[in-house]
């Protein structure tokens, strides 16, 4: 637009080339100010929808492992989502460790997914569309998601179905032999 008016102007005067007028200057300056102002207005309007400070100050959850029997899965709530704490049996650990990576849609070794082999801690949200998978179900006896049929193994890795990724891992640490702190 500005370029157009400059051309029109120089055609009109016909002379020494484009000499910007005061109107051209105001036009560009106003346009630039409007762009900045629009951005500065829209950004807060979008940003207000992001998780607020109280949500971000994520509470951490402490879990006492001593009450979880071998083979049992405890579900705890963390940041509004379930977290599965699974006390795996030697058979489950062996199955998870022996699975060749070539059979996995989202390859990851079992070792990379646990801190201690008998304790698997995963976020209980199906990576397909967010349902809570059911434990000790499905062909690998890991988890089965009832919503659209995703199957996870005893390491929480995706094996069949529409989910694209393994169950996510929360950040957690062992605070003692029988306690973990999630978050």
């Amino acid at each position: 637009m500005a370029a157009n008016s400059v051309t029109a102007h120089s055609v009109a005067t016909g002379a020494t080339g484009p000499e910007p007028t005061r109107r051209d200057f105001l036009y560009i300056a106003t346009g630039a100010a409007a762009v900045v102002a629009t951005g500065a207005t829209i950004w807060p309007l979008i940003s207000q929808m992001s998780p607020d400070a109280s949500t971000l100050a994520l509470a951490s959850t402490e879990v006492d492992l001593s009450g979880i029997a071998e083979g049992q899965i405890l579900t705890v709530k963390w940041r509004g989502n379930p977290v599965f704490v699974r006390h795996r049996t030697p058979k489950e650990i062996k199955e998870a460790e022996d699975t060749p990576l070539s059979q996995l849609p989202d390859p990851a070794t079992d070792q990379s997914r646990v801190k201690k082999p008998e304790w698997l801690v995963v976020i209980g949200v199906c990576t397909h569309l967010g349902c809570v998978p059911l434990g000790h179900q499905g062909p690998y006896d890991g988890w089965f998601c009832p919503c659209h049929g995703s199957v996870y193994d005893t390491s929480g890795r995706i094996r069949q179905g529409p989910a694209p990724r393994n169950l996510d891992l929360p950040s957690y640490k062992f605070t003692s032999d029988t306690k973990i702190l999630i978050g």
Partner: protein, 418 residues
């Protein structure tokens, strides 16, 4: 076709007002003198019925909002309070919940009317696209409204549908967290859905105004698909002809609506939604409301997350391009013998997908859903464009008046023969 306004103010006050804001003239030329094709059948009453349902949803919704609390610990109880304690609260809630279904019934019939009679073709492309936008806004509104009672289906429906956005490569997870306002569907999500559920119907109302405006520029289509050639011969004034016909259609539709509200108010709902939302337990079988089922079936038919989401959104987006995908210049299926067959096959496909969407995603259901999904896209992307090139349409009547006279004559001949 809008014709000049023939409105003549009768009193001095009306004249004074009309010369300052000619709104009575606008109403008169749009809903009184407006010429409507004289051969419109009852399928044409569903636009008016849909408009009425929008108004009904707004009225019952505003009333419900006076008693509802959008907060995760109180939402479910506030809805129960509406059902038990508020005077006529049960009526308002049942009318609103079933009203949404009836709104979709009316709009689906209205859309299939357009498909059958080719109402989406030139010069009505913009009218049609506005209709598709209304449909998308309706889906968004109904989805967010269903979350508000905060039952198990509310919560898990919201979780699954918002998680669709996480399929977007790279930014998907960030977008989902932004939509939720947290790391899962939670109080911030409920609050913003309530805000938008209140807002969107008024946006729909705005688009309906544009839709009707566009209609009044291009004029209504009609069962022959032949354009109006002579206003005096082919049309009748909107009032009383269309007004009375629309009103009669509406009354019949309300009888059905009332039957749902008073006799089977829960039949279209899901019993799981009378269980309070629990973020740690997914119901065994998540099913959306019936009007979303065909699209849900398409989503689940594709064995890839991103692929399923793309297929589902494009199954609707395709309709935006329908006026250009259909290469036939003949509008009405009446004169398109082959198209007519495919039209009914497509209707059956939609119903079949709806059924499959309500079934668990296992075995034969998945295979059937894949076949029907493939056919759905085949119909719109291949069959419709090719039909226009290969089909031999039947001869069109010279005008609407001719077709009306011809059918009268044949009825007359039959009566005479008997």
């Amino acid at each position: 076709m809008t014709g000049h306004s023939t409105y003549v103010p009768k009193s001095a006050l009306a004249r004074w007002f009309e010369s300052r804001l000619p709104i009575m003239g606008l109403v008169h030329s749009s809903f009184i003198a407006y010429p409507t094709p004289k051969n419109l059948n009852y399928w044409w009453t569903f636009g008016g019925i849909a408009s009425f349902m929008l108004a009904a949803q707004i009225v019952t919704g505003v009333v419900l909002a006076m008693h509802y609390t959008p907060e995760v610990t109180m939402a479910f109880d506030s809805v129960e309070k509406i059902m038990r304690d508020v005077n006529f609260g049960w009526l308002m809630r049942y009318a609103h919940a079933n009203g949404a279904s009836m709104f979709f019934v009316a709009v689906y019939i209205h859309i299939f009317r357009s498909l059958y009679y080719g109402s989406y073709k030139a010069p009505r492309e913009v009218l049609w696209i506005l209709g598709v936008i209304i449909f998308l806004l309706m889906m968004a509104t109904a989805f967010m409204g269903y979350v508000l009672p905060w039952g198990q289906m509310s919560f898990w429906g919201a979780k699954v549908i918002t998680s669709l956005f996480s399929a977007i490569p790279f930014v998907g997870d960030a977008i989902t967290i932004w939509l939720w306002g947290g790391y899962s569907v939670d109080n911030p999500t409920l609050n913003r859905f309530y805000s938008l559920h209140y807002l969107l119907p008024f946006m729909i109302a705005g688009v309906v105004v544009l839709h009707v405006w566009a209609l009044h520029v291009s004029g209504q289509n009609n069962p022959t698909g032949v354009e109006v050639k002579s206003v005096p011969k082919d049309t009748v004034p909107f009032t009383p002809y269309a007004t009375v016909k629309d009103a009669f259609g509406m009354v019949c539709f309300f009888i059905l609506f009332a039957w749902f509200v008073f006799y089977v108010p829960g039949i279209l709902g899901d019993a799981d939604n009378y269980i309070r939302a629990n973020p740690l337990v997914t119901p065994a079988h998540i099913v959306p409301e019936w009007y979303f089922l065909p699209f849900y079936a398409i989503l689940r038919a594709i064995p890839s997350k991103l692929g399923g989401v793309i297929a589902m959104f494009s199954s609707i987006a395709i309709f935006l391009f329908l006026p250009w995908l259909d290469t036939s210049r003949v509008r009405s299926a009446r004169y398109r013998p082959v198209f007519k067959i495919f039209f009914w096959v497509f209707v059956a496909t939609g119903i079949g997908l709806g059924y499959l969407g309500s079934q668990p995603p296992e075995g034969g259901f998945v295979i059937a859903a894949r076949i029907l999904t493939a056919y759905y896209f085949l119909h719109l992307l291949v069959i419709i464009p090719l039909l226009g090139l290969f089909e031999r349409p039947r001869p069109l009547p010279a005008s609407i008046a001719d077709s009306v006279l011809a059918s009268r004559a044949s009825v007359g001949a039959r009566v005479a023969a008997e």
